[in-house]
């Protein structure tokens, strides 16, 4: 039903709106007073509501960072929980302003689906989870297995590729939502649950006995997960992209939530440009010059966001790995603010 509604909205949006007559996204957002952010229906560490209905997670924090840059207020965000298969339609139809929902950046999504990916919040790869008592130690031993997965994901295709490439047979049972996948796996309908490895870490916590399950060592795909906006508004695309880079630069320069006030007095020209005490970079995007200061003050830098939501001290216990900064052996690299 939701899918039908948003498709009808899509038809309506495209069919009725006169081409090219839409106001800039930033102006629309400023006048309505909040950002509509598309998130998952509940994936621990990435986007999940707590018992009071507050959303937490790294994808959620990113939306709060964008809101901080625009409104100086991280609470000016409304969240739309979306299933994997409804997410792109929601963005295309304009129901949401930004899709921050552990979404893999692929060429078809970036081009023919009409999306623009603003960065990679989490470099991930697809893995398999299985019951310990099946006594399987490698994904290469999975021939003949029944596999549960979520429909409308890259996971579904990677799975097909992996089994085909290794001449193994399998049976796929694809569900519409994550919770249905976990429930079916927990009930024993399938031998294996597959999704991104970060997702497996989160889903494992939802099982009856998390310790009875292991994640197999193989990583069968590249899953760069990041926020996306829709084609057609370069200013909005720039803002989302640079919020991400600002968080990376802040971590690299040692600017964090605790010391950001002191750092305003810093003599380091890079810090000055980041926090807006020098230059007019914020105005160039239609924001204020202290845009990055606001982000760090309210949400923190990339490292803080990571540690708070998915890091080693959280239930997910994910090491930084490839998500460390470039100068610490990882892939996260903030473009220079200059």
């Amino acid at each position: 039903m939701k899918r039908l509604l948003s498709t009808l909205a899509l038809c309506g949006a495209f069919g009725l709106a006169a081409a090219g007559a839409q106001a800039a996204k930033l102006d629309q957002i400023k006048s309505k007073g909040f950002i509509q952010c598309g998130v998952s229906q509940g994936l621990p560490g990435f986007s999940t509501p707590d018992d009071k209905g507050n959303w937490t997670g790294i994808d959620v924090d990113f939306c709060r960072a964008v809101a901080s840059a625009i409104f100086d207020d991280p609470t000016k965000v409304k969240f739309t929980p979306l299933s994997a298969k409804d997410r792109f339609t929601a963005l295309q139809s304009g129901d949401i302003d930004i899709l921050s929902r552990n979404t893999t950046w692929t060429i078809s999504r970036d081009t023919s689906l009409g999306l623009n990916f603003a960065g990679v919040i989490y470099y991930d790869g697809q893995g398999f989870m299985i019951r310990k008592d099946k006594k399987v130690n490698s994904a290469m031993e999975l021939s003949g297995a029944s596999v549960c997965t979520q429909t409308g994901t890259t996971t579904e295709q990677n799975l097909a590729d992996f089994f085909r490439a290794n001449n193994m047979t399998y049976e796929v049972i694809a569900f519409a939502t994550n919770d249905e996948v976990v429930k079916a796996y927990d009930a024993g309908r399938c031998d294996v649950l597959t999704t991104d490895r970060s997702g497996l870490a989160g889903e494992r916590l939802k099982l009856t006995n998390p310790d009875d399950h292991i994640v197999l060592p193989e990583i069968i795909s590249k899953e760069p997960l990041g926020p996306a906006v829709s084609h057609g508004d370069d200013q909005w695309f720039d803002i989302v992209k640079w919020v991400y880079f600002a968080q990376l630069n802040a971590e690299e320069l040692g600017v964090n939530q605790k010391n950001v006030e002191e750092q305003l007095k810093s003599a380091n020209p890079e810090v000055k440009r980041l926090l807006g005490t020098e230059g007019k970079f914020g105005e160039g995007m239609g924001l204020t010059n202290d845009w990055a200061y606001r982000i760090v003050k309210h949400v923190g830098n990339y490292g803080e966001m990571y540690d708070r939501n998915v890091g080693p001290d959280t239930p997910l216990k994910l090491a930084r790995g490839v998500n460390a900064l470039w100068n610490k052996g990882g892939l996260q690299y903030g473009m220079p603010i200059r």
Binding site: G15, G144, F163, A187
Partner: protein, 397 residues
């Protein structure tokens, strides 16, 4: 004179042109049609322009692209290298399978329960009433989830599966039965089967005609059974049993070999047919009650047995009342089959309007095709039912 009359008539119709109801209705209809066409044309043009502005792919070319995902139940050959068009067919056939099996099962249960509601036996009546009241008052999605998560998931895993005679296995992976393999000569058996059916149909119409004339028919049930089952059996023995079975074997994670009915299909079909049967039962009850008591009494006074009275007098008249709402229930069942997506059954909505839509992003095209297909399925069903309805309609003599 003639000329005068002509002008007179012309003048009269001239004054009443605006008030002529025929002309008026034609003009109004043309205006409405033009409006609809123009609106539709604007809508399509605008959509194309806006989609192009956002550089979103359009058109139906994607149907020839490789789908690249697996489907758990395929009635026709399908692999990850097949096209989206093929995936569409697989999904469509899965939907039709649920609809057809569901309709047959729902009709059987519905008729039994409906007749049970009018039974003279208190227990049967109570059971039937309870069935109807419980099942028709619970949401269908809830019932599907109940069968899937509460009943079928509770079955043991494939290694501990419940075995019937070592041939049929029941587990949370579904029902696994031996797969028949047709050897040489099985074509003749099939031919004998077809001939048996044909002969039965011909004989029964001849027997009917004879009964109309002489009042004595043939025992068609036994003759029919003999022809349809006995004849192919004799041919099969003569051909030396060309039929063998591939038996399921536990291998690795699952059973290898044999034919498997997946639990998603069982849960969906069971839930939809039991749910719809509750409504059909009420249709049947109201149909039977619409036949006046005098008809039954008249049949009894002619010396007809109760079973014959029901079959030859009551049911034919009740059907006139039962069929139209029955058509509605068949359509509902077909449309409700799209709830499959909740339990991962690969129907049209899950495979095509779900996975394919998500991978290609061509929402407008795919939703249009899917809607068109459901419309077509519904129209076909109602056409068949309407034709049947006309056939059984009361013929006034």
């Amino acid at each position: 004179m003639a000329e005068l009359a002509g002008t007179e008539r012309g003048a009269r119709s001239g004054t009443s042109f605006i008030n002529d109801p025929k002309v008026r209705s034609i003009v109004l209809q043309v205006v409405a049609l033009v409006l609809v066409v123009v609106l539709g044309w604007m809508f399509i043009g605008n959509a194309r322009e806006n989609l192009a502005a956002q550089k979103i792919a359009t058109g139906f070319g994607f149907l020839d692209n490789t789908a690249g995902f697996g489907i758990s139940q395929t009635l026709i050959p399908y692999s990850e290298t097949s096209t989206y068009g093929r995936a569409f067919l697989v999904g469509l056939l899965n939907t039709i399978l649920v609809a057809v099996v569901g309709i047959i099962v729902a009709t059987i249960i519905g008729f039994l329960v409906g007749i049970g509601r009018l039974s003279k036996n208190f227990v049967v009546r109570l059971l039937s009433t309870t069935y109807v009241e419980v099942l028709r008052n619970l949401p269908p999605l809830f019932q599907i989830l109940f069968w899937y998560l509460a009943v079928l998931s509770a079955l043991p895993g494939p290694r501990q599966s419940i075995s019937l005679f070592g041939e049929v296995f029941l587990s949370n992976r579904g029902i696994i039965i031996p797969r028949p393999i047709f050897g040489e000569g099985s074509g003749t058996v099939l031919l004998a089967f077809g001939a048996g059916i044909l002969l039965t149909v011909l004989l029964s119409s001849w027997s009917n005609a004879r009964r109309e004339e002489t009042g004595r028919g043939l025992p068609m049930l036994w003759i029919g059974l003999g022809l349809v089952i006995g004849l192919p059996l004799i041919v099969m023995i003569a051909a030396g049993f060309p039929l063998t079975f591939e038996r399921p074997e536990l291998k690795g994670f699952n059973f290898a070999g044999g034919t498997r009915v997946i639990p998603e299909f069982v849960a969906l079909t069971l839930a939809l047919s039991t749910y719809t049967a509750a409504f059909i039962a009420e249709n049947v009850r109201s149909g039977i009650q619409s036949v006046s008591k005098g008809q039954t009494e008249a049949a009894y006074s002619l010396g007809l047995k109760p079973s014959l009275t029901l079959r030859l007098v009551v049911i034919p008249q009740a059907l006139r009342v039962i069929i139209p709402p029955l058509t509605n229930q068949y359509l509902n069942l077909t449309k409700n089959s799209s709830l499959a997506v909740g339990i991962g059954y690969p129907d049209l909505v899950a495979v095509f309007a779900g996975t394919s839509l998500n991978q290609t992003g061509q929402a407008i095209e795919i939703i249009a095709i899917t809607m068109g297909v459901y419309l077509l399925l519904s129209i076909i069903t109602s056409t068949i039912m309407n034709a049947y309805n006309r056939r059984i309609a009361l013929v006034e003599r």
